[in-house]
């Protein structure tokens, strides 16, 4: 069983929901990014999404755009992200690590991505701009070792949801709203309705993300899902120079929000 599946089973047995934490890897530089990751795990993050910074992030709002830019300016690359994943694996043997990327950096590795990601100890891959129609060219030759996390959006019709979920592994990522990352105006009811629709077509764990920035939101969303993804809110704190302790405490408050909501 993959580390991702194992984590969701363990949480489910405890009646807990997963806090999935996203950071743009290498923001503002490798060392501080590693410190931020340690703080988030200490605060209770159950799954880590390591964002691969990209020059043209068309699905991201201004916060993650700037985070990517800072990481790129500090010299981060996809091989650099995999090397960070290796370091994280050594420190946190049980923590699922998902590489979150646009397709072009992966394409530029010329088929070497799968082997190098597995060797680094990564558990999954999510490619924002690789829909189910095009993904065979990447995953077609994959064997075991890496879960392929797929996105479902509020605009996705049910038949299509089914087709996507059939090809997914690890967990399914529901985009909570029609918009880029970090958008405002999250509507819990809409997201919850979508979440129920996804749950009706798959047995995989479901995580909801985009626009979640408070413990209350995380709590409410977690009722309809198995986990909640928070990204822009962490990136914003880093941008404002937050210390690792603050990140840890904020992660803990999100986790607490989810626990209380589940009671």
């Amino acid at each position: 069983m993959s580390r991702i599946s194992h984590t969701f089973e363990k949480l489910s047995a405890r009646g807990e929901k997963a806090l999935v934490a996203f950071l743009s890897a290498g923001d503002p530089d490798r060392e501080r990014s590693m410190a931020a990751i340690r703080a988030l795990v200490e605060g209770g993050a159950d799954v880590l999404e390591l964002g691969v910074p990209f020059s043209d992030p068309t699905a991201d709002g201004p916060v993650i755009q700037r985070a990517s830019q800072r990481a790129l300016s500090a010299g981060m690359t996809l091989p650099g992200v995999l090397s960070m994943a290796g370091e994280i694996r050594a420190e946190f043997p049980d923590l699922p690590v998902v590489i979150f990327s646009y397709y072009n950096p992966i394409l530029s590795m010329d088929g070497r991505f799968h082997a190098e990601a597995v060797a680094a100890g990564a558990d999954g891959l999510l490619v924002v701009d690789l829909p189910v129609e095009e993904s065979d060219e990447l995953t077609g030759s994959w064997d075991e070792g890496l879960d392929f996390i797929r996105l479902v959006a509020p605009t996705t019709p049910k038949e299509r949801m089914k087709a996507i979920c059939e090809k997914a592994s690890g967990f399914v990522y529901l985009v909570s709203m029609t918009g880029v990352t970090g958008s405002e105006g999250l509507k819990q009811e809409v997201a919850a309705t979508c979440a129920r629709a996804v749950k009706s077509v798959t047995g995989l764990p479901l995580c909801v993300g985009f626009g979640v920035s408070t413990p209350e939101q995380a709590g409410l969303l977690s009722r309809a899902a198995d986990g909640v993804v928070v990204g822009s809110a962490f990136c914003k704190m880093l941008e404002q120079g937050a210390a690792p302790d603050e990140l840890r405490d904020f992660a803990a408050s999100l986790k607490q929000g989810m626990k209380e909501s589940g009671k």
Partner: protein, 402 residues
């Protein structure tokens, strides 16, 4: 590579051989599938096609003339140079062919809000024009660098009732405008139609834009046959995203006519400051399709450079990538300085101020003409007029003209 009949490209999923496709966020996929279906329907719909044809003739002034540039031919000293006068189409460039088509499609789909990216501003103006004509809301994304260097077009868009959204990110040019338009579309996809201006982007845009632009080549083919009694020896067009070039080339694709696409060489390809995507790029995914792109070894997109805002783009339409690989067309580049020289040459020889984009094609055509006998015929797509470029040309005048 055996890809079969080129005129039947792309396949059902929008692939031109290994290129094209749909590399976008899931949020946009349902809209693209809906668009694909709608476009497939109107493509075969006689009424739709007739309505577009009527607009072409009664509104945008088609057919545009094919002009024998006698004095320019003399100056170049070789093959005959003909100009396909897309600069005379309404709004001053070929872009209107595509925006009328897409706005008509948007109306057919019941969408009343248009968005578009623009570089030189010609596509923005053409989209704003179509929006005004159909009574639609319109938002144009434009890099702040381009807002500066193409100021007259910003005013034109605003006068046409469009909202111009300046984009201050990256190089603040066309690539960044397209990023921002896609982000906006992700959030507004349910009621907004995205009018992509080139043969780039996810399927069905490369096919659809080509189909709307092929009127250039269809007319030119007929016109050159009438003028010369035969097909030309060479077609020349500039390539940024590549819509005017594809519009000219596509109807000749089974004729065996030589074709040259001219990319922006900027300050010279060896300086790294250029937009020669096909000449110096490698295969990647940008803005929804697989094609050649300018990128570093880790797949980060590089900033392009060109004096021409319309060519200042690190990507290119996927069908051009296939044409390059198959040798259907050759792709070369022309520097900023060479394009400026060609601008002045055409102005003085024929009384036509060409767009900086089209000046790249002219520069190459003059080189080609000089090396060919007088019996040969070169057909150049004069894709737009140069009024928008006056400030750039004057800034770079450097004593070329007394």
């Amino acid at each position: 590579m055996n890809v079969g009949d080129l005129s039947r490209m792309p396949d059902a999923r929008g692939h031109f051989g290994p290129y094209g496709g749909r590399y976008v966020a899931e949020t946009l996929m349902p809209a693209l599938l809906e668009l694909d279906e709608a476009y497939a329907t109107v493509r075969e719909d006689g009424q739709f096609q007739q309505a577009l044809k009527d607009l072409f003739s009664s509104y945008s002034g088609r057919p545009t003339p094919l002009f024998f540039a006698g004095r320019l031919t003399e100056k170049a000293g070789g093959a005959k140079i003909y100009l396909k006068r897309e600069d005379l189409a309404h709004t001053g460039a070929h872009k209107i062919n595509n925006t009328l088509g897409q706005a008509l499609l948007a109306r057919w789909m019941g969408k009343n809000k248009l968005i578009a990216e623009t570089g030189a501003g010609q596509h923005g103006v053409a989209t704003a024009t179509a929006a005004a004509l159909f009574g639609m809301e319109c938002k144009i994304f434009m890099g702040t660098e381009d807002v500066r260097r193409q100021a007259p077009n910003v005013s034109r868009m605003e006068l046409l009732g469009a909202q111009v959204v300046p984009v201050d990110a990256g190089s603040s040019t066309l690539k960044d405008a397209m990023n921002e338009a896609m982000r906006y579309w992700v959030g507004a996809v349910e009621d907004t139609y995205y009018v992509i201006g080139s043969v780039a982007g996810p399927h069905p845009y490369p096919q659809m834009v080509r189909d709307f632009q092929r009127v250039i080549g269809d007319e030119a083919r007929e016109q050159i046959l009438a003028a010369e009694g035969r097909l030309p020896d060479l077609l020349v067009a500039c390539v940024g995203g590549g819509s005017n070039a594809m519009g000219l080339f596509y109807p000749f694709v089974n004729d065996g006519v030589a074709m040259v696409g001219v990319e922006a060489g900027g300050m010279g390809v060896s300086t790294g400051k250029h937009a020669a995507t096909l000449g110096a790029g490698s295969v990647g995914v940008l803005h929804g399709s697989k094609s050649y792109v300018l990128q570093d070894e880790h797949g980060q997109i590089k900033e392009a450079h060109s004096i021409s805002a319309g060519l200042d783009y690190p990507g290119v339409g996927p069908e051009h990538s296939l044409f390059k690989d198959l040798g259907v067309a050759a792709y070369v580049s022309v520097t900023d300085d060479e394009a400026l020289d060609a601008f002045h040459a055409l102005a003085r020889a024929e009384g036509i101020l060409p767009a900086m984009e089209s000046s790249h094609a002219l520069a190459q055509a003059m080189k080609e003409a000089a090396n060919r006998p007088k019996e040969q015929v070169i057909l150049v797509n004069l894709s737009g007029r140069g009024d928008k470029d006056l400030s750039i040309v004057m800034e770079n005048r450097k004593g070329i003209v007394p």
